[in-house]
Subunit: 446 residues, 2 copies
């Protein structure tokens, strides 16, 4: 029998299926939210996972899209495809604007979604330390659109330099500044260096991309400050081998369309990338609970929001202390483990039990890569660096990607890229006409 | 010696290298322009290839990006990468606004690029047969941005239908109309049917994507009118097996935000796709030469613009008659062969000879696919259809893709897609908030 959509009995069946089931709403399908949803698969709960995107993004590799190494489709998977076989789970594409904790409802525009249990996993965005006007000159990297825009800026800079007759402007166009010496900044700087000095090396006739300057700026005393000293030093050496200039110990004091000021020094650049600060999404504000300086909600050891027995806040929007007393970092493994913990607490509640175990983060280690042949890895005191570190880094990232097809595609791309130095996603898409025109130049004179 | 970009001696070397060489400018790096550029590789000419994009696009597979089958990076290759080893060739990213034939210069904004020989290969865009107001309701497919926008519209339609409570709106959202029964329309309609009825089949809870309606509309008497009758009929049967409704013989009389009118019949749809008419880019206007009804420049049998011994117009912006006296179709093989022919004529001129052979198109055949298992192919009277046709179609498209990496990536994706029915590029990117909000709905009632 062909069922027409408008009279489709599917909706009626679905309603019957869910009648009377406790409802768990999860806001955010990043690492935390998705882990929680998957952990609730075989329960009697009706799970509603809400995200403003239709895909789960593997953020650790976003910088590779931004530096034309991978395609967006290789690091993102449709949420519906991931949760396809979880009958108890609905996926909703929507933008949450607030939470009415009294009525126990989520607000999505005109819609209301009621919950019995709520997990807030809305992540973080960039912080400019109070200098929000810097954002238009130094955009950050949080979404696929950020990444393809960044890719366009970087590739267009070389295109414009090729046609530019003014040497000063040409130098500005081929000077790239990355602000922030954490893993994102280090990886991005290394990747731009490889792009310029290897992949693009023979593509231009009037400029030599090999001469491009890539400058990594870090206000703290060293790059990868969260890593042990020897690994920080190793990462800096690897960056310098790639031709990246590393500046530490001086904060950025201003950013504009033509460059930055680093203390008293001026660095001219037309492409500044922000990888420095993060601030939480407004979870704490929605829930009207205290937050730390970065806006992350201050929550209990059991990940519950203070005063709300049925609300959990996890991932980058939550401030939780680790075993050492210091706040846990905003990294994927923390969010994933918190997602599972929150789900276990809810599962106990569904069985009318109380799960009071505090959250304990199991730290398997830290990884960061510098280009295609060197990485640093710290596994609880066991240090790896160089090529071995890079193999482990690659294997770990491929393993944690979601979807066999993505794993295969990324493995093949990295293998091919390793052999050929090519970067497989060097497309400029979007509006290329809006960039400021360089000075007129008669190519006849060339 | 480390060479700084601003004082980079590369530019001076390049100038010396090109001094005194005859200059061939090619506008457009599609199939025609790129063929011409490659054919001029080992000549004394200085070739300048201008395009407003940095990549060459394999247009025959653009509909696969639009229907979430392939990623943009798999069907586009950076022009610089293709021509990397052609020392005599410059690639310029720029937007041409006119041609000054008296001064023999191309106009790019404030810039002027002089030429000794000129090849215009600027392609075509969509035509709405004088009803340009239809474009905002029924966008076409010519660029990667068109394709990712189309992909977003199609996927968002299902997302919105999932949350829609009004059955009439839900039916509109899951009704897709493709206007134009040529190869693009047939391939697009087949791909949307597969997306809905296979790839998305289990991803929704309240709607059944299998019940989506896909309607292919063609004003002429049959689809694939340029193919032999038996192949047209075969294509129509394959479409109907996929669940596509095919309407022929009635023209579209109006298009708005809620659907189309087909003669007296109204079809409600929120997603109408245009694949019907094309019109040339303004080459004829730039050159001030006669054009046909579609704006294509009327040129000589040797592909020269009338009155201009050193200007050639090729590809979709040129109107050339074939051996049968009918105009040659706007397909890739025609453009490629014309590119080579124009290049040969110029090479002769560079040797101070005259190449007067008229252009003769060697027609190897026509192909069109209907979903993942059926295609029609006509090789000079030898007809293939069904699965064998699809194998030949796939092999031909992979073969003509540019770049080993793209061929490998597409082959793997199609193989995986064939086995799993999945479509590997189901991402919604860009602004998803701007779509009109469906009526408010309390999911509590579900």
């Amino acid at each position: 029998m062909k069922r027409t959509v408008d009279g489709c009995p599917i909706e009626a069946e679905r309603r019957k299926e869910l009648e009377g089931r406790p409802r768990v709403v999860i806001i955010g399908a990043g690492f935390g939210g998705l882990s929680a949803a998957k952990a609730l698969a075989h329960t009697k709960a009706h799970v509603i996972l809400i995200d403003r995107r239709n895909h789960h993004l593997f953020q650790p590799l976003l910088y590779q899209v931004a530096t034309a190494g991978l395609a967006p489709t290789q690091i993102a998977t449709p949420i519906r495809a991931i949760l396809r076989h979880q009958r108890n789970t609905d996926v909703v594409l929507g933008h949450v604007d607030g939470i009415d904790t009294a009525a126990q409802q989520i607000m999505l525009g005109e819609r209301r979604v009621a919950y019995d249990h709520l997990i807030v996993a809305t992540g973080a965005r960039h912080s400019y330390f109070g200098r929000d006007e810097w954002e238009r000159f130094a955009p950050g990297l949080k979404t696929l659109e950020d990444a393809t825009e960044q890719r366009k800026r970087i590739l267009l800079a070389f295109e414009r330099a090729e046609l530019e007759s003014d040497p000063a402007e040409r130098a500005r166009l081929t000077t790239f500044v990355v602000i922030g010496g954490g893993p994102t900044g280090v990886e991005t700087a290394g990747a731009i260096a490889e792009l310029a000095k290897k992949a693009l090396a023979k593509d231009y006739r009037r400029i030599n991309p090999h001469c491009a300057r890539i400058i990594l700026v870090e206000a703290g005393p060293c790059v990868l400050g969260a890593f042990p000293e020897d690994l920080s030093a190793s990462a800096q050496r690897s960056l310098e081998c790639l031709g990246v200039e590393v500046r530490t110990g001086v904060p950025v004091t201003s950013i504009d369309a033509y460059g930055i000021k680093l203390g008293a020094e001026r660095i001219d650049s037309r492409c500044v990338i922000w990888a420095a600060g993060v601030q939480s999404s407004p979870a704490a504000r929605w829930l009207n609970i205290p937050a730390d300086r970065a806006g992350r909600a201050t929550i209990g050891a059991d990940l519950r929001a203070p005063g709300h027995d049925n609300i959990y806040v996890i991932g980058d929007c939550a401030a939780v202390d680790g075993a050492s007393g210091k706040p846990l970092p905003g990294v994927a493994p923390v969010a994933k483990q918190q997602g599972v913990h929150a789900a276990e607490t809810i599962k106990a509640a569904l069985r009318r039990k109380r799960f009071t175990k505090p959250f304990r983060y199991v730290d398997f280690g830290n990884l960061a890569t510098v280009g295609r042949k060197a990485a640093v890895a710290n596994f609880n005191g066991f240090h790896l660096r160089g090529f071995i570190g890079w193999l482990v880094w690659s294997a770990a990232h491929v393993y944690f990607l979601i979807g066999f097809r993505n794993r295969l595609a990324v493995t093949i791309d990295w293998f091919w890229s390793y052999l050929t130095f090519e970067r497989g996603a060097r497309l400029i898409t979007g509006d290329v006409t809006a960039t400021a025109a360089p000075a007129a130049r008669d190519l006849e004179a060339a």
